[in-house]
């Protein structure tokens, strides 16, 4: 008799299952528009040239070793990463009230932030503080906050499926009606999965309500640089909220903008009222880290720190990021014009209006199913496609397939 006889089979994570199914598909025309990883026009993963360069620097340096990092991570990484989010000359940084925790990817940063909030925010161990995530949102947001102990994870209105755009009044309405001190997870830019971001004016309204109603700001920034091609532009919302005096968290990922997916490079930037509050917050985050992974992995953080702190390498990195963002923009305009040329029913300007890696096509589950099973074009059930999966070689096939699915399936 086993202790684990009653352990049920859990269903697989959808996005990884999609890639698995794609791998097993024998159709030579297959296209993977699922998981969010950048691809070149050859459909291949891209190790950034600057990363290759820095890797060689690291491998060749005999003074480097594999010793433990401090619990909170590599200091040069933490500070240079926070500067990327908040700006080199951020007053908050100058006022010594910005700190950070190096974490395992954006996921790890969200998790450490969530664990801290559950213990220390809105009273101690207040697991009933509502956590609001956008409708829709990255599918792991729910699980991160729920696993951290929050009992009440709820959606806030965000995507208007009819309009295929932002439901601003719904969003503001949910902010107005949320219990005070609720936590809101905001996408800094390139909203996943919709690709639809609030405008500057929209963000200003959001900030005003959040400040007035004492709501907690938790930014998820996984695509800085990737959305517009410009780091500063993509950080506008985060920086604006800082100027508005919020104490807030920003979970940063360097998976996409550095292409360092499997090295798990993330940073939880903490903006506090003052240095003293910051110190105490970090000390408690240290305790959480110690019982989760003790200290973070060194390789990826070192790569990023070396790059960000060397002017030439930094410039080269920004150029690499621009390359990726520009290819995505090209695919967007290409896909839109092909669909319009085919006369595919519906409007397709949302393809170029949306921003970042993803597009919420508006395809319904039946149409998605058709695309997968009949055309071997793999995308999420929500209709989300990864623009990076498109290339000049497969875009005609994809456009035709979408056309077919829209015409044949309602």
């Amino acid at each position: 008799m086993s202790l684990f006889t009653e352990v049920p089979q859990a269903s697989p994570v959808a996005v990884f299952k999609l890639t698995n199914d794609f791998k097993e598909d024998p159709n030579p025309k297959k296209v993977n528009l699922g998981v969010g990883a950048y691809r070149t026009d050859e459909g291949l993963p891209w190790v950034l040239p600057v990363v290759k360069k820095v890797e060689q620097i690291i491998v060749a340096d005999p003074s480097l070793n594999h010793e433990y990092l401090p619990i909170l991570g590599l200091p040069e990484f933490r500070s240079s990463a926070s500067k990327i989010a908040l700006g080199e000359d951020s007053p908050a940084i100058q006022e010594n009230r910005v700190g950070a925790v190096q974490c395992l990817g954006g996921t790890g940063a969200l998790r450490i932030g969530a664990e801290f909030l559950r213990r220390w925010y809105n009273g101690n161990d207040n697991t009933r503080t509502p956590v609001y995530v956008s409708a829709p949102t990255w599918e792991n947001h729910n699980a991160v906050f729920a696993s951290a102990g929050f009992e009440d994870v709820r959606p806030y209105k965000y995507w208007n499926a009819e309009k295929r755009g932002l439901d601003l009044s719904g969003f503001l309405g949910d902010l107005e009606s949320a219990p005070k001190r609720s936590i809101f997870v905001l996408h800094a830019c390139a909203h996943n999965p919709t690709g639809t971001d609030p405008s500057h004016v929209d963000w200003m309204q959001v900030a005003e309500v959040m400040k007035r109603r004492k709501l907690f700001v938790f930014f998820d920034s996984a695509y800085q640089g990737f959305a517009s091609g410009c780091l500063e532009k993509d950080a506008w919302a985060v920086r604006y909220f800082v100027t508005q005096g919020f104490e807030m968290f920003c979970a940063q990922s360097f998976s996409k903008n550095f292409g360092l997916y499997n090295e798990r490079v993330g940073n939880l930037t903490v903006v506090a009222r003052d240095a003293d509050n910051l110190k105490r917050v970090l000390s408690q985050m240290e305790k959480i880290v110690r019982v989760t992974w003790s200290n973070p992995p060194c390789q990826g953080a070192r790569l990023v720190a070396v790059t960000l702190t060397d002017p030439e390498l930094f410039a080269e990195w920004k150029a690499n990021v621009k390359t990726m963002a520009e290819r995505v923009l090209l695919m967007r305009s290409s896909l839109r014009s092909k669909l319009e040329a085919l006369g595919t029913p519906g409007t397709w300007d949302h393809i170029t209006q949306q921003i970042g890696m993803f597009s919420f096509t508006g395809l319904n589950p039946k149409q998605v199913e058709y695309l997968i099973s009949e055309k071997s074009v793999y995308l999420m059930a929500s209709g989300r496609i990864n623009m990076c999966g498109l290339t000049t070689k497969n875009i005609d096939y994809v456009a035709e397939s979408i056309h077919e699915s829209v015409v044949n399936v309602q």
Partner: protein
Amino acid sequence: MALLKSSKIISTVGVYPSLGALSIRASSWWSEVQMGPPDPILGVSEAYKRDTNPKKINLGVGAYRDDQGKPFVLSCVRKAEAQIASKKMDKEYLAIGGLGDFNKACAKLALGDDNEVIKSGRNITVQTISGTGSLRIGANFLSRFHTEARDVYLPKPSWGNHTPIFRDAGMQLKAYTYYDPKTCGFDFQGALNDISKIPAKSVIMLHACAHNPTGVDPRPDQWKEIAELVKKRNLLVFFDMAYQGFASGDIDRDAWAVRYFIEQGHNILLSQSFAKNMGLYGERVGGFTVVCQDAEEAKRVESQLKILIRPIYSNPPMNGARIAATILNTPDLYKEWLGEVHGMANRIITMRELLVANLKKEGSTKNWQHVIDQIGMFCFTGLKPDQVERLTKEFSVYMTKDGRISMAGVTSANVGYLAQGIHTVTK
């Protein structure tokens, strides 16, 4: 002053000043957050760093040092790294459970190549964030699925981080007698007495080899009795193996207890770390294994482990696992690794002998045999907290309050000074 600052901010962003922004500066969400105490183990290294005494010695955290007191990057690791760099691999996400080549090799290393468990596919081994990450996943798994018994029994004493890990995961901590302070050795009878009273289905944590912090391991015949008693009591065994190869210098010998328990029918949980035996500390390389009834159960358990892992860090880091897998799967490198692990273990054994010899030379009349009898990176000196404090204050020798020293921090150059210090505070 505050007003001036605000207008500077405003001019940067071009937004009309909001009075609300000014008043909110007064209070903080975090006013009630207490200062967390420094970590008892990692805090020692931090205190050591601040000390300006040129003779200072860090015997705190268990990280291996060579005889010059320097971190040691294994030659097989450098070779593996060069090999990996030349292959120009991509950086795509690993699966949630990690690098397959690493997981297979990790299980083989612990259980033996020909182990029936591996052959029948009834183990699930996932890559984890070193030993800590492995223990945490295990603790989370137990908390969610082992609901009939919430108690985890740790040996007294155990690694300081065991308790907070299991507690944070929602388990309750209890202890069984292990260390005998009178002999600085294993209290075998005490352990058996306590284990015989542990309620059925409770979890019992066993250190596979090189017990941390005491360095005191059961002998094989003692392990046999423990295995039998644990089976009789129907306890769930969780092995923590952070030092395979490091204890005796021989990886099979160090895994003997783990393999014996499995042979005796215990379906164990196992945490492995490659921090010390491959010197991959900061790369965070580890494995978590559940030995299941059969392959079908292993699949179910695997699916649940992924559900636990995904909301913590999604998938594990590649670099260290790739290095470890390369070493374990390349015969030349594997052979070289075995030699280097043996070398590290030997240096430790030599330092133990030197320390005792030097203590005798200093004129100490105390019995220091335990320093030689204990095994692995750590030595439980038997020093009391006040003696430890003196050793730190007067000699700048840094160690944990429980009297534990990391032998890895001892060198031919500092062993004399260390003996002097220890003798001074114990005579």
